[in-house]
Symmetry: C2
């Protein structure tokens, strides 16, 4: 080997990009299935779905007494009534299953008097009062974790609560580390003049471990070409990534570059960084290989620049950063005085502002810890925060992930979850933070610049057309692009077997049929009101018109748990819970996107996912969807 | 057991403080000794000192030829000269030991011609040119890591390079986790109506692992007082911290509070947080015990609020935060165009500004990775940064630690390391970031508000008094407190056995005596110039007056490695390297502290350490110090 003094002087960013481009299509991560209890900090290798609903039975949400709501009809302060213990009222603790035949819970504090044989009530109780329905926290089949997600303690909790005991994770990339050099000695050796102790191998192995890889340190190999060659080929046969540490003198990297070229491809020898210039980048038998200089600081630095992105690439991960930020709160937060409250929030960046959207606040809602991007503390002597106030958020996710997140506020649709997972699967980060507040509230979020886009399905009763009229009315002067996401089948959701034989809206008026409605401003509510009017029915004829839920799934849960006999919603929600349904029509579900966001890379990525065949096939598999105009922009 | 509905409603901060105060003096961490290669992320349980110097031999810093400097005297462009290969010039690679008899290295690039038998030079070479002296990176006995430091990959590297194979670390606190409740079932169970799967134990165990503890999950225990009692006592016998998870219903925490009170002390039952109110805090047989509510979100939150501080307290750690910040650079940074350079920096907060001080930049300086608080990137096409410029710093340490750090710029003294370690040992974070630039430059840093205090020892030749005159001259109008740190013995540092029999400054003028000087502006330089003048000697008589080093240790290293025959420095530096010395006097080393910083908690903490007996005893043990006025403020 001759001494080679002249090296290339490429910018390290170019070197890294070159390497990533060459390896992108070939070095694919592998999966393994492991026990969830051992999965802390591992990276999911597939979308993880719930195997069971949680709670898996209707449960009391309070300490008190389970009752039948109809036994309390007519009770008032003037006419209090005793309910017989063990027959009409059964004592329950929080979390206890609702006893057979009972459909509501009276809180201990609401019992006027407790006697030998009964409890005295002074107010009627509505059905499903203080009852946690099946699936309130987690619905069977629901997406719990996206692909390429680093499993945290709270994720393990949600998986176990949802009956998932084994989880598909990325195999840890195997990194072989080869210390070389005649003068390099093991840690235990008695050093002579000229000897250098091998500290680099330990440093690099520890870094690899921090990045989620699994490092194996090879025996120290002297500067003999045959021995180096044998060691490198041995590493290539069993490892995913090869690291060759040059001895301490300059020019040793020449062996590495020569051998990489001989058994693979040498991409680059020498980058413009100081210290660390003589780094070698290439591949040996399809395995990425890096030659790092032997000086400790150079070895550490080049490992950070090149090895870290590779080890993370194998797992689909980016770099971590800060742990708190200031965000504008998108919705008023109330809190009781006297307690410090911890509100879970979703966080995304819209324009230059961070926006935080509060999530569900019950203590039992495991999934809120999984979905949350951060925590907002409401101090003890404060009533809450106003909408639009700037508040400090403690992050539960890396900022790099949040920066890639698109904020969607508007109507709920199950395909948004599929879309978010597809986006994560592509880039590593990405994804959608969606708040389900209904179509109209979504349009208002666009006006307040708190969302990147809104999912809407608002029928204009005058024209019979969807969405356009509402954008003109509520966002005059704003340039909004309107793109179709899906057509979806609207159905009447009924229990399995349709016991009350409900076929049309007119059947809702039959005695004993209990309806569950959607909130005002939701597209489904607009549709329902439109249909009632069309068929000459009035809301006074519908029992339960005032009972409102906020999502399709919540409506389906109400039907599945027996809290209602029928609701209006999308077919996929009924199918997700194994319910029956009656098709009543089709509606257009669009995304409204302010034109200034169309050119953002994450938005472009989303549109390209929506227009992809893979996404549309997954949507069709849900049932109840049509993709004939999916990804099409309307003029 | 009766149902207890009324709980206390204490603020959680008060509850935590109560707990910490009660346990502070009693729950002391234990140490164990482990292999450095297995010590990643463990917490040091004692100061770690170097067992060997690194490099442990004088080594070539370049690829080239080792020569004797005196063989090159008189060489010039007009009179180039051949040095005979193998006799006058020996080929060396970077890192090779300097061959016997040689005292300098010529870079390959500086060789005019390479012939069969020799190399042609066209310039003379000075002694120790391109030679890394013994201990350039790490000096035997030097403090490598303070106590309560979380070991990172680069720390392992420095320890191994310094001959440290075993390290004293904190034992991981053992945390026993007891899931309780008649309705709680193991993960593998086939759930019946009313059953709840035990997901909390896994979540809490994973959190404990993330915080550095070691968790053991006890079998699920039903709501039977005798069984709960047995399990709690069993945990108390073997664990450091007890966690009892209540079942899912309210009021279960009453068992916990009752049993904690029976076998120990109940501090608190109920804190003002939502969710999580019915938390129980106390101790069982001197072990801290926490009862967490069974609802997943409550369990997670109360663990973060109470369990995390305890687990970290056992290891001497605080909480982590952000990973980058903007800082004012305290010293000009040069960089060569064409390479992206990574400069290691120390970071501290002075007033409202973060200040970054660049560290040594050689690629071989392992310790710079350990000492560094962050990295500054100098982009490829930029020449560097001006002093006072604001630059982004990527952090290598948690911000909470940096916020507690005092910035000291000024003269170097070994007792500053001892002081820093004592401070860390007290509070958890703390410590001193010191930049060694000499006394005068330290005073100028105070003027620029880039340091909290300066270590100075400047003799006023007119009055024979220390420091006061310089503060008046360079910081007119500023209110500066002056406190004595130590009196220290100034010595002539000579090789073991004092072969040239040097006794006084007059001996420096003997032929062949090579002196090594300190930089201008250092207190030792001022003293040396004062002594020369006093004894009627001139600098022209001193061979090596122009050779400058920046610290006492560097001077001692120059003598120890044979690069110089004598230097002026402090006794403790000579003793650290096992050299001989001749006492020439005593000097006062003070800390100059702008009065506005005196009231800061970290400054108060430092002053109380300086005034403590423990610190002063450790200082005396170094040798060469007197503490008769240590901690005394001068009027």
């Amino acid at each position: 080997m001759e001494r080679q003094i002249y090296l290339e002087n490429t910018a390290w960013q170019e070197g890294l990009k070159l390497m990533m481009d060459k390896l992108a299509g070939r070095c694919l991560p592998q999966n393994e299935s492991i026990d969830v209890r051992l999965a802390l900090h591992r990276i999911t290798g597939a979308i993880v779905r719930a195997k069971k609903s949680s709670p898996h039975f209707a449960a009391s949400a309070m300490d008190g007494y389970a009752v039948r709501a109809k036994d309390t009809h007519g009770i008032s302060e003037r006419e209090p009534r005793w309910l017989e213990l063990g027959v009409q009222a059964i004592q329950v603790d929080t979390g206890d299953p609702l006893p057979e035949g009972m459909d509501a819970v009276v809180m201990l504090e609401d019992v006027l008097e407790l006697g030998e044989k009964g409890i005295l009530l002074q107010a009627p109780i509505v059905p499903w009062n203080h009852v946690r329905p099946v699936g309130e926290d987690i619905v069977e089949g629901e997406v719990l974790l996206p692909i390429h997600h680093r499993i945290r303690p709270q994720d393990q909790g949600a998986l176990l609560a949802a009956g998932v005991i084994e989880v598909e994770v990325r195999c840890k990339p195997k990194v072989g580390i080869l210390p070389t050099g005649d003068e390099i000695r093991p840690v235990e050796a008695d050093l002579q003049v000229g000897d250098i102790v091998d500290s680099n191998s330990t440093v690099l192995a520890s870094l690899v471990e921090e990045w989620g890889g699994s490092a194996t340190i090879w025996p120290i190999t002297p500067d003999k070409q045959e021995q180096l060659e044998a060691a490198i080929l041995q590493m290539a046969a069993s490892q995913d990534i090869l690291v060759i540490i040059a001895g301490s003198s300059q020019g040793r990297d020449d062996y590495t570059s020569h051998l990489v070229g001989k058994h693979g491809t040498l991409y680059l020898h020498g980058v413009a960084i100081k210290p660390g210039k003589p780094v070698v980048l290439g591949e040996v038998q399809d395995k990425p290989a890096i030659g790092v200089p032997g000086y400790p600081v150079s070895a550490y630095l080049t490992a950070h620049l090149f090895l870290e992105p590779w080890v993370k690439h194998y797992q689909g991960l980016g770099k971590d950063t800060q742990t708190s930020l200031d965000a504008v709160i998108s919705k008023k937060v109330f809190s009781s005085l006297g307690s410090e409250e911890f509100v879970r929030v979703k966080v995304g960046k819209v324009g230059e502002r961070w926006v935080a959207a509060p999530l569900s606040r019950g203590a039992g809602v495991t999934m809120s810890l999984v979905r949350a991007d951060g925590m907002l503390r409401v101090p003890r002597l404060q009533e809450g925060f106003h909408e639009g106030e700037t508040v400090p958020i403690e992050l539960l996710r890396p900022v790099s992930e949040l920066e890639e997140t698109l904020v969607c506020i508007g109507s709920h649709d199950l395909t948004l979850d599929v879309l978010s997972s597809h986006m994560k699967a592509r880039g590593g980060y990405g994804g959608i933070a969606s708040a389900h507040v209904g179509s109209l509230a979504g349009i208002l979020s666009l006006r307040k610049e708190e969302a990147h886009f809104a999912g809407i399905h608002l029928l204009d009763p005058e024209t019979g057309e969807y969405n356009h009229a509402y954008l003109k009315r509520f966002l005059p002067g704003r340039d909004i692009a309107l793109m179709n996401l899906v057509y979806r089948t609207q159905v009447l959701i009924v229990p399995k077997g349709n016991p009350l034989n409900i076929k049309t809206l007119a059947d809702f008026t039959k005695p004993g049929v209990r309806f569950i409605n959607r909130q005002g401003g939701s597209g489904t509510r607009v549709l329902f009101d439109f249909l009632l009017q069309q068929q000459g029915l009035s809301k006074e004829q519908i029992l339960g018109y005032e009972r409102e839920e906020f999502t399709h799934l919540a409506v389906a849960i109400a039907v599945a748990s027996g809290a209602a006999d029928v609701g209006l919603g999308i077919q996929s929600a009924a199918e997700a819970l194994g319910l029956d349904y009656v098709v009543i029509g089709e509606e257009r579900y669009d995304l409204a996107i302010p034109r200034e966001y169309l050119e953002e890379p994450r938005m472009k990525a989303m549109i390209s996912v929506i227009q992809s065949k893979a996404f549309q096939e997954d949507v069709l598999a849900l049932g109840g969807y049509d993709v004939r105009e999916t990804g099409v922009f309307y003029a």
